[in-house]
Amino acid sequence: MSEKTQTARRVLAEYTYEPSPSERGYTGQTLYVNLSDNTVSARPVTDVMREKFIGGRGFGLWLLWHGVNDHTKWNDPENEIVISSGPCGGTTQYAGSGKSLVVSISPLTNVVIDSNVGGHFGPLLKFAGWDALEIQGKADQDVIVVIDGPGGRVTIEEAPDVPVDTHLVGHWLVEQMAEKEEDRQFMSVVSAGTGAEHARIGCLNFSLYDRKRKALRFKQAGRGGIGTVFRDKRVKAVVVKSPPVRGDSNHPADRDRIARVGAKLHKEIHDYDDQQNRMRRRGTSYLVQIMDDYDLLPVHNFRYGSHPDTPRINGDVWEQRFTQGLPDGCWYGCTMACAHAVDGYTVRTGPYKGQTVILDGPEYETIAAVGSNCGIFDPEPIMEMNFYCDTYGIDTISFGTGTAFVMECYEAGVLDKEKTGGLELHFGNADAAIELLHQMGRGEGFGKIAGQGTHRMKEYFVKEFGADPRFLQDIGMEAKGLEYSEYVTKESLAQQGGYGLTNKGPQHDEAWLIFMDQVSNLLPTFEDKAEALHYFPMFRTWFGLCGFCKLPWNDVVPPDNSQTDEPAKIPEHVQNYVEIFSGVTGREVTKEDLVAMSEPVYNFQRVFNIRLGHGRRDHDDIPYRSAGPVTVEEYESRAERYDGQLQDILGLDPAGMSTGEKMAALRKHREEQYEKLKDAVYERRGWTNDAVPKVETLKKLGIDFPDVVAVVERYL
């Protein structure tokens, strides 16, 4: 740790307040910070917010809706970044109860993005007196925002000396502001990095103080470019200090009820995690081999779903790399403990070459994105890119998926060495991928172009290099402007919808239906798929309203789960959530209520997208690569499967057809299926055939506010 640096911190604005303690999960106030005019104020949490929007993502959407207008773009001053955990956030007894949701208008999609993240910021924000933080406006110089709960003071401060890259800024600020060990433990920093200044795929890092390592760790709000918005507003960091966290800091209505289910889940994880997913030892990296085994692991820009070299980067490898035996939860009491780290990692390239750092992760998505999807089956460059993505404030998923697209373009001749400024971006060229990332960090060269995201790269390659727009559309794995997360969906129509029929773009946190659909064949009809594409997005939305992580819901299951009526829903765990929500808020709910609580928020978000000029049927289109084989080699690599489908489903005889004819027939069928899926899902969700929520749906859900109805009426 470095010496404490005494640096002048000039206060531009100061606001004093009497922190309101959390009562039944709510402080009743949100904090509004405007960086354009340096104003800070408190806003009340209204009954509508509490009842209809619950917290977390719901609060983010509500506050953002009232902060922007129909034409607001991501870099307009009125765009906001809203951070909120939710009423159950900060619970220490139940694994995965410390998440924050970040909401903003995305520079990638031009619609609302919501990104969930671990780390301590959201819960500590609440314990500092605030249910949400709303940052609006743009500073005219780099600033930090400091929320000092124990001191009852919020400041906006000039920050010329504060570094930008996350692994530096977090440490720097905590050392500046902490007087003693306990202060470090109850502080959290949100930061981005230099890459987020140049790329649209910027992420936010949320710190947590790891008391056993005596060091800061970071979790990422990766998706949708919120880090880019953060740096565009010229924020270097937001710091929160809270009073010491205790087992009842949320002041829940019924602490014992929460303790009982919390202790039960701890025991379940203790007893079964080693036999099930080994999350405590390898985190989400356990998924790498499973995805490969089922032909679902993205390889070479989602062309394939498996590769012989996968064992070189699978969970066995990461279990060896990760430091074992430490309580790696990203919030207190998470015994699922998936937030692993490689301690003592020595950086081998770039500006921090030679530094020894704690490498947070990598997690499954990162391993697949910057690893297999780019043809890189070597843990070393995966770790290097993980470190630099985080510290530069770059989303590993968008970086990996975007780089895989670049690599396919390179191999297809769309790009060459001249166009990339000398980078030989073949699949598997880790050095070139790392240099691309450094260019993003510096805002230079081809890295700057790639940092604009896949959607804009497609436009650029067509305009500047005369590339075939249809080919790029087929292979560029983005929808709504957001890069796909890391699952091959070609054989699961339901998951094509799970990605395509989302509000924010193709991120698996809305629905992950591949096993139900493709492996277990539990969703044979369009109605079944539509029901799943209603239930699961709503159910998963609920986590983000309350401050929960999805992983303890189904990455460990009770031993008798398979004997239940609906094993995919993990009924016992859903009941746990009922107990905790009721126990924290005192608002008695049932299992069915969880989905009913999410529906207004989910529909509100769809209307929000429509208000911003997107969010209708054609915006739910997906690239063909996510539905079927685009290239001949792709088809032929799984010819037996595809030929069989032509025969069995379409009644065609593949023997008499060329590969081109077979691909065309398959494509026509699959694209028709996707359109039929849209019809079924929109109907189930109470939307028009153009994906617009009907007024009667808004009424039923109690969100028929005049300004909301006015948006949908334009399209009815």
């Binding site: 220490t92 007894q93 433990q185 008391r211 056993k212 966290v245 205790r246 087992g247 009842d248 602490r255 014992d256 303790a259 919390g262 202790a263 039960k264 889940l265 701890h266 025991k267 379940e268 994880i269 203790h270 035996g325 430490l326 309580p327 939860g329 207190y332 009491g333 015994t335």
Partner: protein, 133 residues
């Protein structure tokens, strides 16, 4: 090191140890606030649950609230405890307890009060080389 030991053959199931323990540490007679719990199985056999100071809980504690003192006894530093109850779920012997009246868990520290009060000499403070694993 000194730990509590129990002999089921001698135990008469009077539960005086539970009463003594809760009175010693919580100033109430309440088995749910005892650091030792006597269980009777279906066949009438008796068993006791209490901490053997193995220290498995120390590893899962995220805040260093659990530690082994100079004598090897596992203790709870209440000031550092965030009440997460990870230790409760991860105790291999189910010997870390919690109660609605406080956020911090509690456990046997081999104080020996129950040994003094046990009428059947079923409890003793034993000197062992190392805690059970």
């Amino acid at each position: 090191m000194k730990v509590l030991s129990y002999d089921p053959e001698l135990c008469v199931g009077c539960y005086i140890c539970e009463e003594t323990c809760s009175n010693t540490w919580f100033k109430v007679t309440d088995a749910e606030k005892s650091n030792i719990r006597i269980h009777e199985d279906e066949d009438g056999g008796l068993s006791a649950v209490f901490c053997n100071q193995c220290g498995a809980c120390i590893q899962v504690c995220p805040t260093e609230a659990l530690y082994q003192d100079r004598k090897g006894i596992v203790r709870v530093r209440k000031k550092l405890c965030v009440g997460c109850l990870s230790c409760v779920g991860f105790c291999p012997y189910l010997a870390m307890f919690y109660h609605r009246d406080q956020t911090e868990p509690f456990k046997c520290i081999a104080c020996g009060k129950c040994v003094e009060e046990c009428p059947a000499d079923a409890l003793a403070i034993a000197d062992v080389e190392s805690p059970a694993q």
